[in-house]
């Protein structure tokens, strides 16, 4: 059983909605959340030729901050993330593991040439954090358009879905929560 979800904003990122995130994440998984200080030198993971940050390596680093073995940790950054092979990712996580990472870079309306919309950005961030955490809890992508575990490769996808798990994913989650993590 997972005890706590730790939420950490990376490199001093402190958006105005930072404190509103925890209750929403808590609600999605019915688990307590705790803030955590994460002081990482992200420059180490910068790829100058791509002007992006290497998500897989950052996740490996995040694991060292894990307070308890049975907890999950999520890092939130405003920097643009990539994994080798793909041009970008909204987020990344260890499937059935302990750590997840979410970038708000491409969740801003401004990124698409639209006026800023803080509420929309917050909603998108909630969904992406819950989505990546879902993977960390062992869930894979869901075909239900409204389920938070629906795969989203463009931001309009994120807007269609809800911030919660569909009943099937919910059932899978409960089914799995009795079993220990594989990694």
């Amino acid at each position: 059983m997972t005890s706590t979800i730790y939420l950490g904003f990376l490199n001093g990122y402190s958006p105005s909605w930072a404190e509103d995130l925890a209750p929403r994440v808590s609600q999605a998984f019915s688990l307590p959340t705790q803030p955590i200080d994460l002081e990482l030198d992200l420059d180490l993971y910068y790829a100058p030729e791509r002007r992006q940050y290497h998500a897989t390596l950052i996740i490996a680093r995040l694991l060292r901050y894990l307070p308890e073995l049975d907890s999950k940790i999520v890092g939130i950054t405003s920097l643009d993330l990539f994994i080798p092979v793909l041009t970008f990712v909204f987020g990344q996580s260890q499937l059935d593991g302990a750590a997840a990472l979410v970038s708000t870079h491409r969740l801003h309306s401004e990124f698409y040439g639209l006026p800023a919309d803080i509420d929309l950005l917050f909603e998108r961030t909630v969904k992406e954090v819950v989505h990546e955490l879902g993977h960390a809890f062992g869930l894979v992508h869901c075909p239900d358009y409204l389920c938070v575990m629906k795969a989203s490769t463009y931001v309009e996808d994120v807007d269609i879905k809800k911030a919660s798990l569909c009943s099937e994913c919910q059932a899978t989650l409960i089914d799995r929560s009795g079993k220990p993590s594989h990694r």
């Binding site: 092979v85 260890q94 490769t153």
Partner: protein
């Protein structure tokens, strides 16, 4: 979704790892190989639905590997992974039968759209095989399903409309097997050698239903990286089955009406007219006439759609079919679970027959499946059937005296197999009065 298998062949560890993670999150079972020889060995672990092959690898290159893989597995879709410089070689790979190529680094939209297209095509061809099985299963089933007079009438209707090419609307509560009936009509029609393509209009958000039905051109909206054929186009030559037709929006109603009138349409974001020769079968559990009266469903579309209607009775109106259906499901689950066939105890049978079955055949099927799983004895007994208390469920929503009278008369008539003299005797009224009441409530013949 059942596990799809994918093999990733690339000499770079970081590429293998990140693609593996990415596809695992998508629900794939993923294998990786660092070079061509390892990949060929992995083929034993197949068959794979998709094989991703890096073009430039030390030793065996991607093109050679593709040829060798093709000899072993013709059905796997091959995606070539290439650096920007070698697009020409990638084009050569396409000529050799690769599904597509992508350049590194890959846009996640591109990759997921590509994968989705591959799986959709695979599913479509698999669906065609499945439905052939389903139809033959259903026709084998016909004597069972059709024992009650009401169901016999449905089967007769299926035979009649199958010969025509006209639009059909199947009306019935949910769980009555409307899709199975649509498939039976298709399977008996002259279009049976072409696909039947099903769309559940009620379960797809409005914004997506349009592109689902009409398809879209590349660039029609953000994320539309590929031209995609819609279900209407895919049904060309065959049958388009639209379930929950009563739920579509006013705009979709207009679009659909236009297609039915002209058999022509354009894909989203396109100008080119596409034609599709399909037969339309739709279904709904709602009262279309009422929807028309209320101005929710267009009258002109209603007349287009309602050329021929097939009403499917709820299970409670054909209780005499319950034991046979139950036996059928017992047999089917016994076979599927590799268990011995169970008997149906007399008490269990009478519980099943008396129950009101708000979820119809599907609910009965679920109840039997459950009983087959939890029951330990050689027969299904009442304890294996934890049906909700009938009293709460079967109380008619309409509690007026006439509703209850109708219900009661219906039950009595069912018990005496429609024999009016016997029914009148039980009810304590004379035959003429009973006939009048039957006429008033629309019961019987």
């Amino acid at each position: 979704m059942r596990d799809r298998k994918i093999l990733i062949v690339d000499d770079e560890l970081s590429v293998r790892q990140s693609l593996q993670e990415w596809f695992r999150e998508d629900g794939f079972q993923v294998e990786t190989a660092a070079d061509g020889n390892a990949a060929l060995k992995m083929m034993d672990a197949g068959p794979f639905d998709i094989i991703v092959v890096d073009l430039k690898m030390p030793g065996m290159d991607g093109i050679t590997l593709q040829k060798r893989v093709r000899e072993l597995d013709k059905s796997a879709a091959i995606i070539i992974l290439t650096a920007f410089a070698s697009v020409e070689t990638a084009v050569e790979a396409l000529k050799l039968g690769a599904y597509d190529y992508v350049t590194k680094p890959v846009d996640p939209d591109d990759l997921s759209n590509l994968v989705r297209n591959i799986l959709r095509e695979k599913e479509l061809s698999e669906e065609n095989i499945r439905l052939k099985e389903k139809v033959s299963e259903l026709s084998g089933l016909a004597p069972i399903v059709g024992k009650s007079p009401k169901m016999k009438r449905v089967l007769d209707l299926i035979d009649t409309v199958a010969e025509t090419d006209s639009t059909v609307v199947i009306l019935g509560e949910s769980g009555t097997g409307k899709e199975l009936i649509a498939r039976a009509i298709h399977g008996k029609s002259k279009r049976r050698f072409f696909p039947i393509v099903a769309v559940n209009c009620g379960s797809i958000p409005e914004s997506l239903l349009e592109s689902e039905l009409f398809g879209h051109e590349k660039g029609a909206f953000t994320g539309a990286q590929y031209r995609r054929k819609g279900k209407i186009e895919l049904a060309d030559g065959g049958t388009l089955f639209l379930d929950e037709i009563g739920d579509i929006s006013p705009k979709m109603q207009i679009d659909l009406l236009r297609v039915l009138e002209t058999k022509r349409f354009t894909r989203l974001g396109g100008n080119q007219e596409v034609t599709s020769d399909f037969r339309l079968i739709c279904a709904t559990n709602r009262n279309l006439e009422k929807l028309v009266e209320d101005g929710i469903f267009r009258e002109d579309l209603y007349y287009r759609v309602n050329v021929f209607s097939v009403p499917v009775p709820p299970l409670r109106e054909r209780r005499e079919d319950v034991p046979l259906l139950a036996e059928h499901f017992i047999e089917r689950y016994a076979r599927a679970m590799g268990k011995a066939r169970k008997a149906l105890s007399a008490q269990a049978e009478s519980i099943l027959v008396d129950y009101r079955w708000p979820g119809n055949v599907r609910e009965l099927q679920n109840a039997i499946e459950r009983a087959m799983v939890i029951g330990t004895g050689p027969a299904i007994v009442p304890e294996d059937l934890p049906l909700p208390s009938d009293r709460e469920i079967s109380e008619p929503a309409d509690r007026s005296l006439s509703a209850i009278e109708k219900d009661h008369i219906e039950r009595v008539l069912m018990e005496v197999d429609g024999n009016v003299s016997q029914g009148a005797k039980i009810l304590g009224i004379d035959r003429t009065t009973l006939y009048n009441k039957m006429k008033k409530y629309g019961l019987g013949r």
